[in-house]
Amino acid sequence: MSEASSAPAAKPPVDMVNVQINGTWHQFPKGTRMIEACKQVKAEVPHYCYHPKLSSPGNCRMCLVEMGMPPRPAPGTEPEKDEHGFAKIGWMPRPVIACANTVSEGMGIRTEGKLTEECRRGVMEFLLANHPLDCPICDQAGECRLQEFSVEHGQGESRFREDKTKKPKNVDIGPRIRLDDERCIMCSRCIRFCDEIADDPVLGFTERGTHTTVTIHPDKRLENNYSLNTVDICPVGALTSNDFRFQQRVWFMKETNSICTKCGRGCNTEISARSDTLYRQTPRENNDVNSTWMCDQGRLDFHFVNSEFRLTDPMVKTGGKHAIASWKKAIRTAADALRGLNGEEIAIIASARMTNEELYMVKQLAAATKAKFLDVIPRNGGGDNYLRSDELNPNTNGVKQILGIEPGAQLDTIQRAVRSGLVKGVIALGENLVKCGFDTESLGKLTVLVSAHILANPTAEASHVVLPVNSYAEKRGSMINVTGRLQRLNKAISSPGQARDTWEVLRDLVLEISGSNGLHSVDDVFKRLAAEVKCFEGLTLSRIGDLGVQVLETTETVPLLEREKERKAKGVIVG
């Protein structure tokens, strides 16, 4: 898109067309939807039913705009030109929808002006006529398109003096979702999502006219693993999440861009929190990773962050009992104990859920302790034909790049060595060993068991030194997803109690064991990574940006994205 207002009318390059929007001429690729063209030149067109990732039914009528084309000149005559040399536009008496129509050469669009304004005011009035206006008790309030466009395009007072149409309220349509039909504006986004994206067509309309009701088909439930996306795309408060319902007012929450760590996909997310409590996670658009969607499992996997089982203080075991200790004492105790062992007696069990920066520090720790054994716990399974990856660890690629190991390759050996007593010291980082094939009995026989955890668990209980660390929502860092994309976690809330970032804890441990290392911030660690590991070359944490950087070539594709590309190529969706 480029501005061509001052230049004389030139034949646009192939596949580009000249379009006048609110009096100014621009160029757009052929096939661009009018609504997208307007958006590109900051003439946003309000809409409800249109969603770039779904088909366009054109049913809300909110995006009606004034449109015109140059009239076909009479035979033998030249069309009349405007001052820029473009053919004068003959404006249509009727508005057209901007969502489903594409731009064409010489077209004129007016997103302002009497006709467009009348249309918007009319549609707003109609949408609110039978709406319950229960904003004070509606979860959507604050992020509701009805509210937003009502302020921008509606009128202050209702002229509707009739009884409203009554519809079902508080309908249980699935384990995670609730439906309020009176709030629904029948945009059909949820129905189209279920049909087109989730391949689970369980929603539909019933009744007709003003009684039209979105409903779940008989004996069906909206319970697919992507169901909560319907709540995100619902422009009003008709669909609400059972998990988030009545929990928090959206305007009180602070949003932080991050990524989901539930599987190897690394869906881009927005974490919403208020005063150090997480309330929800929602997908953030990234067309190389997750489009605008994410799975329910990943989305709801944040409650542990606010859990009462969070470890908040470093602890050192004396006389078989854990006692709260200062960080200094805990680190020193761990370092002293580890120094007493030689490398062949030490195993480090790290995690492929750790960030790249943390893994770098693991490598430093392995070097400092000369640990012979180093591995991470592999996790697989549960992949689907949409977004979920079969790789359940979010940073397996980081492990391979930074530690240079194949997850799980040494695990058997380590378990045997622990059982046989060959290994006397274990450092467990973020993994509950008891759940990973280690038995409590042999862990109990270890001379040193140092562990860093987010939540209290049997391994922590068995540890001599317990180091409380931050969850993904409390730290910055980076991970490489299954498709080889380097993405960034951001700190959404502050740490509970004395918990610290894992990289910092490891830095202190390494420092205590081996002396200075000059790392003062997570950015310093990333600088080292950039210098030492090829795939990070030339990057910094901030340069990764909110959408990530492709750093590895993989053969992995995302089934959902592949299908979206197909539909985009067919022109069904904007993409």
């Binding site: 366009s56 039914p57 054109g58 049913n59 809300c60 009528r61 909110m62 009606l64 008496p93 009727r94 508005p95 929808i97 489903a100 129509n101 009348e118 249309c119 009319g122 549609v123 009035e125 109609f126 949408l127 006529a129 039978n130 002229r159 509707f160 003096r161 009739e162 009884d163 409203k164 149409t165 504006i185 029948m186 539909g204 309309f205 009744e207 007709r208 006219g209 003003t210 009684h211 039209t212």
Partner: protein, 463 residues
């Protein structure tokens, strides 16, 4: 062909030109294929399959036939919209969802002369190269569906349908599909959706013009029952000869379905534009009821704008017409601010309350709005509720003006033409009969709470 005798009391008026309705109410006539063949049925199909397809389309274009379903779009032009590069199958759909209030012509064709329609469909299918035809019959015509099923089976047995029709190598099947009782299924894209087994939500145009992206996203021609029957006669007479019937650009005959306050309501097949409104009322229908005077006419089905009895219409060509002089054609009717539509002429005399009429129409559109797009879904019940209050004497004069404003907010802003169909009656009735409608309202209700719900809520707040 033998001379035609009609049942006693059912004889056509001398001003009529019976072509499509030639066999309706005919003595000795039944729906069997034998009767039809004895009368020359399927001869035109035999002729058609020996013709070039384009030649048939050219004849239809030359005839000037305009669709009889409501919009009056030239049938031949519609057929020409199938993309020449098309490689997908073409479908022909006969729209027998005759649900426009005031219209009752297609049912008689199907009830009394089913083979005329089967032949018309087969010829048209051959012309547009459609091997599959659907006859979409509304739910309220169960009898017609049975008759058509039987007629299709008979035609099939005689080799007029099925594989290799009359040795021409052309295959054609007609299937009857029954609607489920929705006015919107008469809208062609709604009908197509319904035929596909979905809710009859009309499609957005562009991109879904049926001639290119219709049934199953293939080129589809949707024609009215009467239009398809005309094709047979066009072939019989030749397009040019057919075009001599009626008036220029308004050719052929059409069936007027007259209802309301006249002596003899009923169906009358006349040459388009050759009969005026006054002649329809006074000659064909035997005049108004005794002692009554004309008040208003809806000339083309309930969606057409109303014509007021004392109106004068100035046309571009300088003619000035009264309501009695309007010829029953497409173009003059449009020039007079209404439309010939589906041919449903509703006559209202001075005994009718216009507030009641508009309430009745609004209730119909409220009930039939499909609910897909906002203005129609929310606007049509709003109009019905306001007019309900007007009739109940629970409205202020402002409400009458608001009724019109609500209609204005619907018109031109919807996916399909239902928006216009629902808003035109209200707009025209309010504009033309504002004083009368306002006369049943109460000025002291202005700005007052008039609905039970709000009254309760306010009472609750006070308590």
């Amino acid at each position: 062909m033998a001379s035609v005798e009609y049942l006693p009391g059912k004889q056509p008026h001398a001003r009529e030109h019976r072509m499509i309705f030639r066999n309706v109410d005919r003595v000795g006539w039944d729906q069997s294929i034998e009767t039809a063949i004895a009368d020359g049925a399927y001869e035109m199909l035999k002729k058609a399959v020996t013709m070039e397809r384009q030649a048939i389309i050219n004849e239809v274009k030359a005839s000037g036939l305009r669709g009889r379903g409501g919009a009056g779009f030239p049938t031949g032009v519609k057929w020409g919209f199938i993309p020449p590069t098309n490689t997908k199958p073409v479908y022909l759909i006969c729209n027998a969802d005759e649900s426009e209030p005031g219209t009752f012509k297609d049912r008689y064709i199907m009830h009394q002369d089913p083979h005329q329609l089967v032949e018309g469909m087969a010829i048209s299918a051959f012309a547009v190269k459609a091997s599959l035809c659907y006859l979409y019959i509304r739910e309220e015509f169960p009898h017609a569906a049975k008759i058509m099923e039987k007629a299709i089976a008979e035609a099939r047995a005689k080799g007029f349908l099925g594989k290799n029709i009359l040795g021409s190598g052309f295959d054609c099947e007609i299937y009857v599909h029954r609607g489920a009782g929705a006015y919107i299924c008469g809208e062609e894209t709604g009908l197509i959706e319904s035929l596909e087994g979905k809710r009859p939500y009309p499609r957005i145009k562009p991109p879904y013009f049926p001639a290119a992206l219709g049934l199953y996203m293939s080129p589809t021609i949707v024609n009215n029952v009467e239009s398809l029957c005309h094709v047979k006669h066009i072939l019989q007479m030749g397009g040019a000869e057919y075009a001599k019937l009626g008036t220029p650009n308004n050719t052929g005959t059409r069936i007027l379905c007259v209802s309301g306050d006249v002596q003899k309501p009923g169906y009358y097949e006349v040459e388009v534009g050759k009969v005026t409104m006054g002649e329809v009322i006074n000659d064909l229908c035997g005049g108004l009821k005794p002692g009554r005077s004309l008040k208003a006419i809806i000339p083309g089905g309930s969606s057409a704008k109303v014509l007021k009895a004392d109106e004068k219409y100035k046309l571009k060509d300088g003619r000035e017409l009264t309501i009695w002089d309007i010829p029953m054609d497409f173009d003059t009717m449009a020039a007079c601010g209404s439309m010939a539509g589906s041919g449903g002429v509703m006559i209202m005399d001075d005994s009718r309350s216009m507030a009641w009429v508009i309430n009745n129409l609004n209730k119909f559109y409220q009930h039939e709005s499909c609910g897909q797009c906002t203005p129609c879904r929310e606007g049509s019940p709003w109009m019905a509720k306001i007019s309900d209050r007007i009739v109940a004497g629970n409205a202020s004069p402002d409400d009458v003006d608001m009724l019109e404003q609500v209609a204005n907010q619907i018109e031109g802003k919807t996916i399909c033409a239902f928006g216009e169909a629902a808003s035109w009656p209200t707009q025209s009735f309010v504009r033309k009969f504002r004083d009368e409608i306002k006369s049943v309202t109460k000025t002291d209700l202005s700005g007052k709470i008039v609905n039970e719900e709000t009254k309760l809520a306010v009472a609750g707040l006070k308590a």
